[in-house]
């Protein structure tokens, strides 16, 4: 539905976005993930038509935003990092203004404003001046503005930044709800945010796409197989590691963090498709050691993220 093709943007000598391409399919929620200064905001501004790209193009159903900005913008809703609010307007008059310039037909403006206020939970502050409402409300009014013209695609730049935990949960639930009817692109540097709301993830680092996949896919790709944490007591130094290494399907045994004297702790990595837990249990039992812990680590988006961005740094340092 929305296609980003080889988009590049320079700020002076700095390349903020460097040949980024990905597709946003109809109906999906895509997370744009990256550390601060990865180029997320710049990329979203380009996609929303706020900034021109230096190279490449953004296409909505094949329509180039640079060539027909008005037609494309009519179908996009955009929430910038700082909600674009007028402090001297009331919430309702602000949303009515937004509905005017976003091309909502005159007869449905008031009902649209009421509807989005209801959905974003700001109806109770409809008559208050925006300067007097809390940060959580400001963020939600910003989201209401992005939704007012019922756009096909919602572009949300860090929608939960600066909110308290309860507000974060509310906004996430709202985004989840929206993702059932709309196509959503959401940026964040918080990993749990993306894992809570998105189907697929684009990881952006230093202006480049480091990976595009589903969360499970990313984890699988990186890990290959499972990683096990094993703690044993009663083995001579080095003995246990050697014993685990000899198990079929085990790729490597790494000593893990320090533990109490007399016991050892390892991270055992297995090849894809092998589950070495049973063998480890039998091996320790047969050797007369005591198995204190045996658990399978599920690789988190966090690990994927750190690994991918660290790899990028390592390769760019070379």
């Amino acid at each position: 539905m929305l296609e980003v093709k080889n988009v590049t943007k320079n700020y002076g000598g700095l390349r903020a976005v460097d040949g980024v391409s990905f597709r946003l399919e109809k109906g999906e929620a895509l997370g744009l993930l990256g550390p601060n200064a990865a180029g997320k905001t710049t990329l979203m501004r380009i996609m929303a038509g706020y900034l021109p790209a230096d190279g490449g193009s953004v296409l909505l159903d094949g329509m180039d935003i640079a060539e027909s900005p008005v037609a494309v913008k009519r179908r996009l809703g955009y929430l910038p990092e700082i909600p674009p609010l007028y402090n001297d307007m009331t919430v309702k008059s602000y949303l009515l203004f937004a509905s005017e310039i976003k091309g909502v037909p005159k007869q449905s403006r008031a009902s649209r404003a009421d509807e989005v206020m209801e959905r974003t939970g700001v109806a109770d502050v409809a008559g208050r001046l925006i300067r007097n409402i809390s940060k959580g409300y400001r963020q939600r009014v910003g989201l209401a503005q992005a939704m007012i013209h019922n756009p096909d695609v919602l572009i949300l730049d860090e929608p939960t930044v600066g909110l308290d935990p309860n507000q974060i949960i509310e906004i996430r639930n709202l985004i989840k709800e929206l993702s059932e009817t709309n196509t959503i692109l959401l940026s964040s540097h918080i990993l749990t945010e993306v894992s809570a709301t998105c189907d697929r993830v684009v990881i952006l680092n230093e202006g480049r796409v480091a990976a595009v996949d589903t969360q499970e896919g990313l984890a699988r790709r990186l890990r290959g197989g499972d990683a096990l944490t094993v703690e044993v007591a009663g083995a001579k130094p080095g003995e246990a590691a050697q014993a685990f290494m000899s198990i079929d399907g085990v790729d490597g045994v790494e000593p893990a963090s320090e533990v109490a004297p007399g016991s050892e702790r390892f991270t055992v990595s297995c090849r894809a498709g092998f589950d070495a837990r049973g063998s480890i249990f039998h091996k320790t039992a047969a050797s007369g050691w005591t198995l204190l812990e045996l658990s399978r680590d599920s690789i988190s988006l966090e690990d994927v993220f750190i690994k991918l961005t660290a790899d990028e740094e390592a390769s760019s340092d070379e």
Binding site: Y50, L51, Y78, P80, N87
Partner: protein, 248 residues
């Protein structure tokens, strides 16, 4: 064009809701009334028009400084520029909003005509053309100010640059004698002389206040009207280009 109207409506509301508009109006009427009464010699609008024109040069930068600079500073330009609104509609709406306020001030200065009309017998022809001239002059100052406001996110910087540019455009004729002297020294080269002469005539015609004086004399000269309309359109075009250079 309805998009321009929505922008206009929003800006007018915000202008009239801010204390700035009322402070500017208060200053405008205090100073101009004082000067008018203190310097009045006859029951005619001539003196009043000169005063209002001078005061406009001082107050217009304060009416235009917010126009775009405030949107940039508060991030609300991200709403305007990602909405299906063209740069031209945006600029037109903003310009018209400033003109609504300037027009209100000029209309309120009609009280001077009323008072002079009650106590004397002024010539009404020049009074009408004088108001037409004031509107065109304020339009030129407004377009210049809106342009300056589109260059920065700092309102003071927008006001100072608009005021400075307006002053420069008022005194620009002063450079003419220097250019003429230069032209006289180019006896050898016909081309250089022609360039200097052309520059001299441009300087003669460029003064933003020079085109105003005929209006208060009761003369509507199409040259002056064309000058102001072209001036306004040029700076509004510059502003739209400025916005386009920031986005699509």
């Amino acid at each position: 064009m309805s998009n321009a109207y929505y922008i206009f409506k929003k800006d007018v509301k915000s202008l009239f809701m801010s204390p700035l508009a009322y402070v500017v109006m208060a200053v405008f009427f205090c100073v101009s009334s004082f000067l008018l009464v203190a310097g009045m010699e006859e029951a005619s609008m001539r003196g009043a028009f000169g005063l209002i024109a001078t005061m406009l040069i001082f107050i217009m930068p304060f009416l235009t400084m917010r126009s775009f600079a405030e949107e940039f500073a508060s991030g609300t330009d991200e709403l305007l520029m990602t909405s299906p609104v063209t740069s031209g509609q945006l600029v037109a709406g903003k310009f018209m909003a400033v003109m609504a306020l300037a027009g209100a001030i000029i209309a309120l200065s009609g009280q001077y005509a009323l008072i002079i009309g009650i106590y004397g017998d002024p010539d009404w022809g020049p009074a009408l053309t004088g108001y037409a001239g004031l509107l065109l002059l304020s339009g030129a100052l407004a377009s210049l100010g809106v342009y300056c406001s589109s260059l920065t996110r700092s309102q003071p910087a927008a006001a100072v640059s608009a005021f400075g540019l307006a002053l420069l455009l008022i005194v620009i004729r002063a450079a003419q004698s220097a250019v003429d002297a230069l032209a006289a020294s180019f006896t050898g080269s016909a081309a250089a002389e022609a360039v200097a002469k052309a520059l001299s005539s441009v300087l003669e015609a460029a003064g933003v206040l020079d085109h105003y004086f005929d209006f208060e004399k009761g003369v509507i000269d199409s040259t002056h009207v064309v000058y102001y309309v072209a001036f306004i359109l040029l700076f509004l075009f510059f502003t739209a280009r400025r916005l386009d250079s920031k986005r699509f």
